[in-house]
């Protein structure tokens, strides 16, 4: 769905209520998330913060439909996705969600173009067209001259830009980034962040950004702090 400019009412992309996640470890029930409420409007950027073990990654997995909540309700862009089958979850990830990981997670033996074209392949776009689209996306993230390079031939910052292009390939509504600059030096990190925020603004993407870095978190519209599986504090960006 093309991004709608100036929607009349702030539409909710993420609408989660009472999200819980429990695992069983050696017969013991371990709660990781204990009732998280989170509403994020279209085009909003939210920074997710909290110490390690606070449940940030688990929450991100739930928001990205990689996982199902043990309890609670999660409506993504108007559809209830709390209890989908694995195949349906995959479909939602493909069409609604883009992931950017700390460790890039590119496919090592595939070129930049092939990596970016992969989601398009799974959504059924013919080869010629998806490669054209992938090249256009790579141009957008500033890798116009690196189309045929393998990840091993690219710097960390370039790899992450390929990953961003891949995350955006199927026009997602929600971009999830887990410490996207965590594996980069500060200069490359700043560049990658800049590319991501530019695209976010241009396409009015909704974005959730997990970060430890307060300076990065400040760039978000809103910061959500997690502790022991609960939202303990929400602060809006100082105007």
């Amino acid at each position: 769905m093309p991004p709608v400019e100036e929607a009349p009412a702030p539409e909710l992309v993420v609408d989660a209520e009472g999200l819980c996640k429990r695992y069983r470890f050696g017969g013991e029930d371990v709660g990781v998330l204990a009732g998280v409420d989170l509403k994020i409007g279209a085009g909003e950027v939210v920074a997710l913060r909290g110490p390690s073990g606070s449940g940030k990654s688990t929450l991100l997995n739930l928001l990205g439909c990689l996982d199902r909540p043990s309890a609670g309700r999660y409506v993504l862009a108007g559809c209830d996705v709390s209890a989908l089958s694995r195949a349906a979850q995959a479909w939602v990830r493909l069409h609604y969600v883009g992931f950017v990981f700390q460790s890039f997670n590119l496919i090592a033996h595939a070129t930049a173009v092939e990596n970016v074209a992969l989601p398009l392949y799974y959504s059924g776009v013919p080869r010629k067209r998806r490669e054209d689209m992938a090249r256009a996306l790579l141009d957008q993230v500033g890798l116009g001259n690196r189309h045929a390079h393998l990840p091993a031939q690219l710097s960390g910052g370039q790899c992450q830009r390929v990953a961003i292009a891949r995350a955006l390939a199927c026009n997602p509504r929600l971009l999830l980034a887990d410490e996207p600059t965590g594996a980069l030096d500060s200069r490359n990190g700043a560049e990658v962040l800049q590319v991501m925020l530019d695209l976010q603004r241009r396409q009015r993407l909704t974005m959730v950004l997990v970060t430890h870095d307060p300076a990065i978190a400040k760039l978000a519209d809103r910061q959500v702090h997690l502790l022991d599986g609960r939202v303990v504090e929400t602060e809006a960006r100082a105007a």
């Binding site: 990689l66 694995r86 990830r93 090592a108 059924g124």
Partner: protein, 405 residues
């Protein structure tokens, strides 16, 4: 909407081409299995056909009487050779026989122009050629007049012609047999090739039995009597009748064992067919097992491959590949391996079958059903054994898989 479906084979081949060494090793087992299967089927079929061909040279509508001492020697009972008396009695008394042809066999030297060739001499009557369904490539068979006149004529098989005459025309030429008998060549037998045992069927020379008698004598009896029942259906009746008549001419008492053997090539053919059928079945079974082992090899390597590529599978799942898409990717890879293995196996199997046929002088049999069977079985094996690794890949939890190093 189905690009991932139609492109499955292509991307599978690309993945396999990335690890050529491993892919080759993976398909080796299956290739050997397919090759074994095809070769076995061809062996069986080739052996069977060559046995059949051999008996066709004899004619299947035929009874053969050979002297056979058997137990009589041990029991010190008299044994008698097969003689003209027997031939006459059979001709006169039997109601089921169309023809009685005596044959004397002797190994003899043949010579022409200083070239020598050691050969199987067969002295017989003109009907021999018809009984053995043996046509002539040049000239004709000696006839009744030749027999009556003890004519010094002979008919050569293809092998002595090659040995003694090379490319020149043997008709009308003279060969010396056993250093004493000079015979004019009146006919050349059409070549029949080799028997299952590797014997050269064409290595013989035919002579009127009377001519032979004049030089070497037939007092020791005939090597065999070849009898043709008047109808194929009378085979069993003829066998009984022949036994009865010869018991009488040889004065053998009821209840004793005879001093001769009556066999029919047809019985031998049936026995051979049965044995070779069992053998072929056994060989196919062994080949099927090797195919199965090849399939298990593919499964093992694919399981290793899934384990090694866990992280890649996690990435694909995270960006939205459905379990069905991942399943299909690995199924295609298994299938691509199988197809490559089957193709290599077919080539290898045909090569082995051809080489064996060459060495054994069998007819070369390219068994379409063998190839189809092996290919079908291999593809089935590839799908079945490719399924387990593919299902494991599709069943991976994306979060776990992404954490995999």
């Amino acid at each position: 909407m189905t690009a991932w479906r139609s492109e499955g084979p292509r991307s599978a081949v690309q993945v396999l081409a990335r690890y050529p060494g491993r892919s080759a090793l993976t398909v080796l087992g299956l290739a050997i299995g397919v090759a074994a299967f095809i070769a076995m089927v061809s062996f069986g079929e080739g052996a069977r056909l060559s046995v059949l061909a051999q008996f066709q040279t004899l004619g299947t509508n035929l009874l053969v009487v050979t002297p056979w001492a058997g137990q009589r020697q041990a029991l010190q009972q008299p044994t008698q050779p097969l003689t003209d008396l027997d031939v006459t009695a059979l001709r006169r008394e039997s109601t089921t026989l169309a023809d009685v042809v005596p044959v004397v066999r002797l190994e003899q030297d043949t010579a022409r122009d200083g070239l020598h060739h050691w050969i199987r001499l067969q002295a017989t009557l003109p009907a021999f050629a018809r009984l053995h369904q043996w046509s002539l490539s040049a000239g004709g068979m000696f006839d009744g007049v030749d027999v009556a006149q003890r004519a010094k004529v002979c008919v050569l098989g293809a092998t002595p012609v090659r040995a003694l005459f090379g490319d020149s025309d043997p008709l009308g030429e003279v060969v010396t047999i056993g250093g004493v008998l000079l015979c004019r060549v009146v006919g050349v037998l059409a070549p029949k090739g080799y028997s299952t045992g590797g014997d050269d069927i064409d290595d013989l020379i035919l002579l009127p039995i009377t001519t032979f008698d004049a030089y070497w004598g037939t007092a020791a009896g005939y090597s065999r009597l070849e009898l043709q029942p008047s109808r194929a259906a009378l085979m069993d009746a003829a066998k009984g009748e022949v036994t009865e008549i010869l018991f009488r001419t040889h004065r053998i008492d009821e209840g004793q064992e005879g001093d001769f053997h009556v066999t029919s090539p047809l019985e031998v053919v049936r026995a051979v067919e049965k044995t070779s059928g069992i053998l072929t079945g056994l060989l196919r079974g062994i080949a099927a097992v090797s195919l199965l082992v090849g399939g298990i090899g593919i499964m093992n390597i694919q399981l290793v491959s899934v384990a090694e590529r866990t992280r890649e599978i996690g990435i694909r799942a995270a960006i939205g590949a459905s379990p069905a898409q991942i399943l299909s990717q690995f199924l295609w890879e298994g299938l691509a391996l199988t197809v490559v293995g089957a193709a290599a196996g077919i080539a290898l199997g045909l090569a082995i079958a051809s080489a064996t046929a060459e060495v054994m002088h069998w007819p070369r049999v390219i068994s379409a059903s063998g190839i189809a069977g092996a290919t079908g079985f291999a593809l089935g094996v590839g799908l079945v054994f490719g399924f387990l690794p593919a299902r494991r890949a599709a069943g991976l939890d994306p979060i776990e898989a992404l954490r995999h190093e």
